[in-house]
């Protein structure tokens, strides 16, 4: 049980500053007053909460990268973070630019607004570039275009039903989100899944990583118009997704991970065929990656732009491959008792410069790592736990899983067998502010490439 600790406003900043905070969110406390909850990551993740009587709480934004969390809480719960001034709307979309964008002034400055409706099929996100021609001075990202109400939709339901909602937050990280939710719920209910379930969930999460990373490489190639790379890696991604479909019945593995069940063993022959196919994909990807490594036209585009170095990673709270591409060997899989990662160590690419090239290389080394894990897990029969009833428990839970984009944190509050509050902070959510910063470290036409090198999800952050 994660439990929740409530502290006073005077101790709040002090306690948070000492902990390893993995995100904030607002909720309504047991007595009906709004409160802000912080997830403290660690061996056993915990929640720390401070009440906001009158809707006012001290800000944390000067201590840790919690700008988006606070802006979201302010917009959705009407809170005011004392010291977070000016508050710029994040989830709300006021027409007045002064209410949400950063003032950029000076000679010759103009703006280039891009999105939410694009020339291509791209998710809805709006980027306001403050530029002088091709030079980017500042980027204001305005996401949250779709008011999906997913959290509200899940709240008030049984943990199983809520899980089905949460697993549809986004297709790219469907497994990770489901695993994080399942971990949070099981944490809240005081359960620990058996080894069989842990192995299956780990298998699926790594399969998801494989197709995502292959897709990301393909997208980076598309970003520079390198058609051979785009098509080759798209093909490899499709091959992995077909294995996913064989294994779980769905190319994006929707509903493969739930509280009650996990896909069973496909049989030795089929499992062996899958293992062989994935090994072949990994080998093909490695060969293709070597080809791309020596493609000077690609190298020239990827080296340099969008540099997020290790200092920036810490300052901005960057997670996942983007952090590891800067040499920060942080990976929530190193400490994942609810999954199956024996002897796991985070890998960083050979030249962790923090630029697009490094993020591309990070995908390759992680792809190899994921293929190894998948191969190992597929070489033994899959034996998930027998389905179990979730019962009518009460409690707070935190679940953490490493998505292809980084640490995903799910918090759940269950009271009497009903989900009261659920909050999902995905790797995409953590990294979006870094994309905006990386955008200022490249010329304007390189932004799509920089953006693709993070390949974050817009749907993940829609509330």
């Amino acid at each position: 049980m994660a439990g929740i600790e409530r502290v006073g406003a005077d101790a709040w900043r002090d306690r948070v500053a000492r902990g390893n905070v993995a995100g904030l969110h607002a909720a309504i406390g047991p007595d009906g007053t709004p409160e802000v909850r912080a997830v403290l990551a660690g061996e056993t993740p915990r929640l720390l909460a401070v009440a906001a009587p009158g809707g006012v709480v001290p800000t944390l934004v000067d201590l840790l990268p919690a700008g988006w969390d606070e802006r979201e809480a302010a917009d959705l719960y009407g809170l005011r973070f004392e010291g977070h001034d000016p508050h710029r709307a994040l989830v709300h979309h006021p027409d007045d630019r002064d209410l949400w964008a950063t003032p950029v002034v000076g000679s010759d400055v103009h703006t280039v607004p891009v999105g939410p409706v694009h020339a291509g099929v791209i998710e809805s996100g709006h980027f306001l570039f403050h530029v002088v021609g091709e030079r980017v001075l500042h980027v204001d990202a305005r996401l949250f275009h779709k008011h999906r109400g997913l959290e509200r939709h899940a709240e008030g339901r049984s943990p199983e039903d809520a899980g089905r909602v949460l697993s549809r937050v986004c297709a790219g990280c469907a497994v990770t989100n489901a695993v994080a939710y399942a971990a949070a719920t099981e944490d809240a209910l005081g359960r620990v899944p058996g080894e069989g379930t842990r192995r299956v969930r780990t298998l699926l999460i790594e399969l998801e990583r494989m197709w995502n990373h292959l897709n990301d490489v393909s997208q980076i190639c598309a970003g520079v118009g390198l058609a051979p790379g785009t098509m080759l890696f798209a093909t490899l991604k499709e091959r992995v997704q077909r294995v996913c479909a064989l294994l779980t019945g769905h190319r994006f593995m929707f509903d493969a991970v739930t509280l009650a069940s996990a896909p069973g063993d496909p049989g030795d022959a089929a499992r062996e065929a899958m293992r062989a196919e994935l090994a072949a994909v990994a080998a093909d990807a490695a060969t293709a990656a070597r080809g791309l490594l020596f493609d000077t036209s690609l190298r020239d585009r990827t080296s340099g732009p969008g540099r997020i170095d290790a200092d920036a990673v810490r300052e901005l709270g960057v997670v996942g491959p983007a952090a590891r591409a800067a040499g920060v060997a942080a990976d929530s899989r190193t400490d994942a008792p609810r999954l199956w990662y024996p002897g796991f160590a985070a890998v960083v690419p050979p030249t962790p410069a923090g630029d697009v090239a490094a993020r591309l290389e990070a995908r390759w080394v992680e792809l190899e790592q994921a293929a190894g894990i998948v191969g190992e897990l597929l070489s033994a029969p899959l034996r998930p736990d027998a389905p179990a009833d979730t019962g009518t428990g009460t409690g707070h839970g935190v679940g953490i899983a490493e998505s292809p984009r980084g640490r995903t944190v799910c918090t759940v509050e269950i009271r009497g067998g009903t989900v009261r509050r659920v909050h999902l902070r995905t790797g995409s959510y953590a990294n979006w502010p870094a994309v905006a910063v990386a955008g200022t470290r490249a010329i304007l036409p390189d932004f799509p490439l920089v953006n693709k090198s993070f390949e974050l999800c817009y749907a993940c952050v829609d509330r």
């Binding site: 280039v112 020339a119 020239d300």
Partner: protein, 309 residues
């Protein structure tokens, strides 16, 4: 007389109509090279028919510059199309002539009309595209004129018919200048047709657009005209490359047939070039074009050394 007029009319219709087909050919070849089936080479004509039936759109706040741009661009491009040489004595439209510098000028006029139309809306994507197009044209013009210079040195004229005739001569092929021009004209084809590594015609990423940026604003017949222009430019530059730099017999009929036969080859080569490399970073492409221009300068110097032989 009537016969010549009929031939002229037929050739002109062919030239004006063939451009989109060439562009379609590049697209089809590119799809095949990338392991896709792709549309057939006639797809651009279907696109034109579709656009033709739709109404145009006038964005609020725009004026004559926006409205006239497609027509002006189409008209000057059509004039340039009719100047592409298919032979030294091929029939010509009276008054139109076939001066190479005029073709360069007409292409530049089209570029200016596009830039002015972009300023008329002052919207970011059109402006980005226009600014990049004009920035690339700085070294692009040098490349183009340098290429024409090395062609004009042995020919002694800038008349495209004369240049066509010179390329049919064996002596021309013995000068290093012509070979330098041949290399440079390959770059010219990629630049002027807006292909990788200079520009990516298939991108949907607004921020990276060059030639597509200003098109985002147009619709209907305006867009049809501009789409036709994009195709017609293939005819112009590939026709120039084939007529001025690629080998062909000097006979009227055989020369014309060979010149035209080079066009699908050039389209396939363009597709290959486009499929094999990434688009260059903005700011590097002009340097590539400038190095192409310097190559032509070397050709000119080499010609001056050999001219006395």
């Amino acid at each position: 007389m009537t016969g010549t007029a009929a031939v002229l009319g037929a050739l002109s219709v062919l030239a004006l109509a063939a451009g989109p087909g060439l562009a379609g050919l590049v697209q089809t070849a590119k799809a095949r090279l990338q392991g896709r089936r792709g549309a057939d080479p006639l797809q651009p004509y279907r696109d034109l028919r579709r656009l033709w039936r739709r109404s145009v759109v006038d964005p609020e706040g725009t004026g004559a510059a926006y409205r006239t741009a497609p027509a002006v661009i189409a008209a000057v491009t059509a004039a340039a199309v009719l100047m592409v040489p298919l032979g030294a004595d091929a029939p010509r439209w009276p008054f139109l002539g076939a001066d190479a510098l005029l073709v360069v000028g007409l292409l530049a006029t089209a570029r200016m009309a596009g830039a002015v139309s972009a300023w008329d809306t002052s919207a970011a994507f059109g402006m980005m595209g226009a600014a990049r197009d004009l920035a690339y044209a700085v070294s692009g013009e040098a490349l183009l004129l340098g290429t024409l210079l090395v062609a004009a040195l042995p020919a002694g004229t800038t008349d495209l018919r004369g240049l066509w005739a010179a390329a049919a001569q064996a002596e021309t092929w013995r000068t290093p200048a012509h070979w330098a021009g041949l290399l440079a004209v390959a770059l010219v084809v990629l630049v002027e047709t807006g292909r990788q590594p200079i520009d990516n015609p298939d991108t949907h990423l607004e921020l990276t657009m060059i030639h597509e940026g200003p098109l985002l604003e147009y619709a209907g017949r305006d867009l049809a005209m501009l789409t036709w222009v994009a195709g017609a430019r293939h005819w112009i530059v590939m026709g120039l490359a084939a007529g001025v730099f690629l080998p062909h017999p000097s006979g009227a009929a055989a020369g014309a047939v060979v010149t035209v036969a080079w066009l699908p080859v050039l389209a396939a080569a363009t597709a290959l070039a486009e499929s094999s490399q990434a688009k260059m970073r903005l700011g590097r492409a002009p340097r590539l074009l400038a190095s192409g221009a310097v190559l032509t300068l070397l050709g000119a110097v080499a010609w001056a050394f050999g001219a006395g032989l």
